[in-house]
């Protein structure tokens, strides 16, 4: 077994000195490759994405983002039908019993031909909804804001994006710790802070692929308002992906059960704290991302008042600054912590 040739082959030669930078780059690639296989959390995320895309597609197919096609209340007609019902011919028809309507006319809708002035004014007022619903600009704006509010702010930012990033970012160390194979990396001559950073850089493309891929899929499924949301919100979504990936990478490096910790964070901290009034929401990452999107929509001329939870949005400059600082800060903190933490998973 022992060979003299092998003895001599192992001797280092000056031309082939090992390089720590090369080792770092190899670790980035190795970390990327280790994520090639979609793991359990990846399948959960893909399933969630499929569900969201399906839901958005169904709503889009039914023209659900359009105000005219929405029902005013359960068991009532759509806004379009209601607006038509309030027009003078329909009101007179309802009063004379010529036509049956789902909703019986309210007292103020009953025409009063004996008071022409009042009736003229009433007809004018009750015709406004119909006039508004004839405006394509209004209907499109409303569709865009509805899509932004429910799909982007609530569903995508609320839990889809955090889950996509959690499934991969937390696995960068989590998988190695679970399989107890982290020892192989920890015994290589690479600075610990470099190991942390390399693992992050190797995982980030997967997080971006899943999160931004999901964002694009949801946007395309949303029809014209979805595609416009893509064009306006992609910088904020990209930043959010990197920020969440940084956070969950740190969680994966510190905790033995990073997925559990991450889920608690997403559903209890981000979901609750970000919705609270007052300054506590400033601790939430999604608040700054929503602020960016809010400002983007405002700059594009959309009525951002339709996003009621975002009335206290910070300026874009503040939001960018905080998110960039958080990204850099979390990674620096992780590098610092990782260079001091002991891992005894091999025992």
């Amino acid at each position: 077994m022992t060979s003299e040739v092998a003895d001599t082959v192992c001797a280092p030669t000056p031309a082939e000195r090992p390089s720590v930078l090369r080792a770092f780059a190899v670790l980035v690639v190795q970390s990327f490759q280790r994520h090639w296989r979609v793991r359990q959390m990846g399948w959960v995320s893909l399933g969630l994405l499929a569900l969201i895309v399906f839901w958005v597609s169904v709503v889009t197919e039914r023209n659900g983002w359009n105000l005219a096609e929405r029902r005013v209340r359960r068991n009532t007609g759509t806004y379009q039908q209601e607006a038509v019902r309030l027009l003078p011919p329909q009101r007179y028809a309802a009063a004379t019993g010529d036509e049956e309507f789902v909703t019986p006319p309210r007292p103020y809708e009953i025409p009063n031909p004996f008071n022409p002035t009042e009736e003229a004014f009433r007809s004018l007022m009750l015709s406004i909804p119909y006039a508004v619903l004839q405006s394509e600009q209004f209907l499109y704006t409303w569709s865009f804001m509805t899509y932004s509010r429910w799909v982007i702010h609530l569903v995508f930012l609320g839990f889809a994006l955090p889950l996509f990033t959690l499934s991969y970012a937390s696995a960068a160390f989590g998988t190695d710790r679970e399989s107890r194979s982290l020892i192989w990396i920890m015994t290589r001559p690479i600075p610990r802070s470099g190991i942390y950073l390399a693992k992050f850089l190797g995982t980030l493309p997967w997080c971006l692929l899943f999160a931004m891929g999901g964002f694009v899929a949801i946007g395309w499924a949303g029809g014209p308002p979805g595609r416009e949301a893509l064009s306006h919100y992609w910088p904020a979504a990209l930043t959010a992906t990197v920020a969440f990936a940084s956070l969950f990478h740190l969680v994966g490096a510190i905790f033995r059960r990073p997925v559990v910790v991450g889920l608690v964070y997403v559903f209890f901290f981000e979901a609750v704290v970000a919705a609270l009034p007052g300054s506590l929401k400033l601790l939430s990452l999604t608040f700054y991302v929503r602020s960016l999107m809010y400002n983007e929509a405002a700059e594009a001329g959309y009525p951002v008042e339709l996003l009621p939870a975002m009335t206290e949005a910070v300026s874009s400059t503040t939001a960018w600054s905080v998110l960039v600082l958080v990204m850099v800060g979390i990674n620096l903190l992780g590098m610092w912590l990782f260079s001091r933490l002991e891992y005894r998973d091999d025992g």
């Binding site: 003895d7 192992c10 192989w184 005894r344 091999d346």
Partner: protein
């Protein structure tokens, strides 16, 4: 000098009737002295390690400069903690661990250390060759150099022809060899091997023992933790015995045995005139007792079992006695000089680790 405990351990107070380890420090082993200008290869200086309320290592001071050193002790004695600390995986709570003067926690120290862990976890979807190659790349070598080194170490551990199979299909012995291969990749000065013989068949074990000896012959320092005391005895008689977080003894097995004054050496002697020889032996100051045992099966004459203190002196004086009286010794066998027996005396019980 290969191994030295610089400051003797302090006897530990314990519960009544319970054995507590004590430090037995053998004189330094003869050999080439290290260059004074060069820091020791591995140096533990007053190192203690706490895991919460548990004291895993207690004031360890140890220096390794070369050769093969066995690390033995019962489960929970602190062996793995010591090895991981030497490899920079954990930090001491107190004291300092250095590799050639570089703090063991520093990544630069890992260039000097090859570590073969006890853990049996790999990237199972890789082949053995690909795994070792990846480890070489993670050491910072170019593709070409990594390929060259991978081939070299695989040949070295006898896996060159079997390395292209997936790791998940490997036997325990093959996995041990792959672990050893990755530890040898960067040609480290210090090799730390945690249970390297575990699960290896007798032929493979012999091959690995020869490999360890050849590595030591090249000037590498090997620190080997093993429960396989017989195999370890074949490899080296120089051991560090650990018990309850302390170094209980350091030195060669005969040296350590010599210092165990409380436990007289037992030697079996088969001789033609046992009773006359027994009388002669009782005149030696080191001899405490001589038992004349009935002959063993297939033997005709009686056997002597001698209890003596200071084994080295006893051996010398017995040699003189044999020459002086022309004794016809058919068999001379120390009964309790094995690693098992010494561990039994030091650690209590049977000495099983």
């Amino acid at each position: 000098m290969n191994v030295e405990q610089r400051t003797p351990g302090v006897p530990v107070g314990g519960f009544p009737g319970r054995w507590e380890p004590r430090a037995v420090v053998a004189p330094p082993r003869e050999g080439p002295a290290p260059l004074s200008s060069e820091p020791p290869l591995l140096l533990f200086e007053q190192v203690s390690k706490w895991y919460g309320p548990v004291l895993a290592l207690n004031q360890i001071t140890l220096e390794l400069t070369g050769g093969i050193t066995g690390l033995v002790g019962a489960n929970g004695a602190g062996k793995s903690t010591l090895l991981r600390m030497a490899n920079g995986q954990i930090q001491p709570t107190m004291g300092r661990v250095t590799i050639r003067g570089v703090d063991a926690w520093d990544w630069r120290a890992r260039r000097l250390v090859g570590y073969c862990p006890d853990v049996d976890a790999f990237y199972e979807d890789l082949s053995g060759r690909r795994f070792v190659w990846t480890m070489a790349r993670l050491c910072g070598y170019t593709r070409r150099e990594a390929t060259r080194r991978t081939q070299a170490v695989l040949e070295r551990v006898g896996m060159a022809t079997r390395a292209d199979r997936k790791l998940r299909g490997y036997s325990k012995g093959m996995r041990q060899r792959i672990k050893l291969a990755q530890a040898l990749l960067h040609d480290p000065e210090l090799l730390i091997l945690d249970e390297p013989l575990s699960g290896i068949d007798p032929i493979g074990r012999q091959e690995l023992l020869e490999l360890f000896q050849s590595l030591a012959a090249q000037g590498k320092c090997l620190l080997i933790s093993s429960h396989e005391l017989e195999a370890l005895e074949k490899l080296t008689n120089h051991v560090v015995i650990m018990a309850r977080g302390r170094i209980a003894a350091v030195g060669t097995l005969p040296q350590i045995r010599d210092l165990l004054d409380d436990y007289p050496l037992s030697v079996r002697i088969d001789v033609a005139q046992p009773r006359q020889v027994a009388r002669l032996l009782l005149h030696l100051p080191e001899v405490l007792a001589v038992d004349v045992s009935p002959p063993l099966p297939h033997e005709t004459s009686e056997t002597l079992v001698v209890k003596a203190t200071h084994p080295q002196r006893f051996y010398q004086q017995f040699g003189h006695l044999v020459v002086e009286h022309g004794l016809n010794i058919r068999r001379f066998e120390p009964l309790d000089e094995s690693a098992h027996a010494i561990l039994g005396y030091l650690l209590g019980g049977s000495g099983k680790t």
